[in-house]
Symmetry: C2
Subunit: 93 residues, 2 copies
């Protein structure tokens, strides 16, 4: 699986991710960029997608698809924990 | 606009929201329930939708649509602030 156009959202400064998305579309001429996040970073992924598409790439790029999923696993204490994940597909309009 | 089937996610205990979603489908026989959130509560909205649909209503209810949006406004200091919002539409399979 080639996944060059994916941006994983974490705890780095917010604008790093926005710039990353914008650069994929402008410098790298990507047709789609997938913004991915898990757990608490999901809110941030939405912020990144919204700021990139509405402020920096207004009119030329939009959200094409949104998927959410979750997986359950046992944590160190043996408790079942469910962690959500999200993928936002941004594409040229 | 009648919006009876909407659940707004905030800072209450997590299971309150999950129970709210499940009750809409079971006790109130709703066909669709819309889970809504803004800002940092978006991650939580995804968690609520995933736990309700995959653990409590497994097989009978699934995510039918996801929309995100954002609005920009000036905060008290006069700075432009953008706040994201999300709607997750859950429906019977």
């Amino acid at each position: 699986m080639t996944d060059d156009n994916s941006i994983y959202i974490g705890g780095k400064p917010f604008m790093n991710y926005v710039t990353g998305v914008v650069m994929q579309f402008t410098a790298k001429k990507a047709d789609t960029v997938i913004v991915k996040a898990r757990g608490k970073f999901i809110s941030r992924a939405v912020d990144v997608a919204e700021v990139a598409s509405k402020r920096f790439l207004e009119g030329s790029v939009g959200i094409k698809d949104i998927k959410v999923d979750s997986e359950e696993f046992k944590n160190k204490e043996g408790r079942d924990v469910r962690v959500s994940s999200m993928e936002i597909v941004l594409g040229r309009n």
